[in-house]
Symmetry: C2
Subunit: 266 residues, 2 copies
């Protein structure tokens, strides 16, 4: 489906990218509302096939929106963008260890000019649909980053890459859980329907109040924790598989594209 962004949306997206390019940072949930945001993972060229294969085998957590080949830095989803600078916070990984968090990844690309960048769909895309249906997006309401958790679900390996699935969690009023499933299920290209509803323990999550990434949740009476596959999953694969070098966004600090969320609705 081809859906056009409004002029206002494009201004909001370009303004946000320009802000991040100048060094500022903010969790991007709710920023440039209605436009798709993306997770980033960039790896040296000799890891690119395995990374793409890992995403193909694990499409719920790793839906690829675009691959920016070695030598290129502009995203086709955001003309004029520069993937090295237009995210608020980057993470630099060496041998599977997070070694730096920086506002600009130009030095990383200078160090590894053969980096291949993967933009991966983000659950923020279907938050637009949830909000339009009057379903509360708690972490936005209280100005926090969405809570994310490592789970006991193993992804399907690809070559040297393996790791567990990471999920994001939103507390949903019990009477709206089915709506949340159906609305997010209409965007299979960006995580789609939840992978799990209501029982953190069976995902191996010991304490819902202490997420592995993002901020603590605020689950209220009558609300059910609903878990979606999360684009931070490649970062778990980096930790488990220890490629020599990688660059990612920092969880919650996404790449903002010019593409409307509605583009991904089936």
């Amino acid at each position: 489906m081809t859906v056009l962004a409004s002029a206002d949306q494009l201004v909001a997206a370009r303004t946000a990218r320009s802000r991040y390019r100048s060094g500022s940072a903010e969790p991007t949930s709710g920023v440039a509302a209605g436009l798709t945001q993306a997770n980033l993972i960039a790896v040296p060229a000799d890891w690119a096939f395995e990374t793409l294969l890992y995403t193909q085998r694990n499409p719920k957590p790793c839906p690829v929106l675009e691959v920016i080949e070695a030598g290129a830095v502009e995203s086709a989803l955001a003309p004029g963008s520069d993937i090295r600078t237009d995210i608020g916070r980057y993470r630099i990984w060496r041998d599977g260890e997070l070694t730096e968090e920086v506002p600009d990844a130009t030095a990383a690309w200078d160090e590894h000019p053969d980096l291949v960048a993967f933009l991966i769909g983000c659950s923020f895309t279907f938050e637009t649909g949830l909000a339009q249906a009057g379903i509360p997006i708690r972490h936005q309401e209280i100005g926090r980053n969405v809570p994310m958790y490592r789970t006991n679900i193993d992804c399907t390996p690809a070559g040297r890459l393996r790791g567990e699935m990471v999920v994001s969690m939103r507390p949903i009023p019990a009477g709206r859980v089915a709506d949340a499933v159906q609305i997010s299920g209409r965007t299979p290209a960006v995580h789609g329907a939840p992978v799990h509803i209501g029982d953190p323990a069976s995902l191996g999550i010991a304490d819902l109040g202490r997420p592995d990434f993002g901020d603590a949740p605020d689950v209220r009476d009558g609300e059910i924790p609903v878990f979606w596959a999360c684009g931070v999953t490649p970062q778990a694969a980096i930790m488990a598989s220890r490629p020599p070098f990688a660059v990612t966004h920092a969880p919650g600090y996404m790449f903002i594209t010019d593409v409307p969320d509605a583009e991904y609705i089936v």
Copy 2:
């Protein structure tokens, strides 16, 4: 979604694969009804990343269901299968030229043990849904192979790979065209909604009666030609891009899996 095949379906699929393994061949439209069929393209390992990238950039014609890595020959979608033998007719391509059509591709794998095989979704998957809705599948009714056409739509290139989109065509009664769009649109992982409805000329198709692959159509009064992106598109990429070696299925002679079509419904 996880959907289980019935025992009868599994017997039908295994019997068909076993028949093809023994050397027989038939167009597979309607065979092992309700189970997903797949297109094949296998390329040497040094073309694998570009091929996977080409499919990622052209998901409507090239939806990847599975990648069988170099050294492996069993499909996870059909336990016990052998991708070298379980298709009725294979095509062998050298430098972009079709040089042989054979009932067994074991010699090709012996010649190139590093072949990486891609199984790509097939429009036969949504034919099940069309038939259940009472929409006639003409080529099945008259015992022919579905007609397929090269078009003037360029796919997005990836590295050395480029080529035009190939489409399959089904004549649909004008009053059922919208139903056909909605039913096929529910399976975005297997070509999804049509790419074009009603005007062959604007796709660059000069004569609907002379398809580039498959058999001539039978379009009757009150029927509209409806075009879906087709998994033969990688064969057009082979012709245009001339990799040194490739193996594909012959159009219409698909790989039959054990996975229900319903698995791919959103």
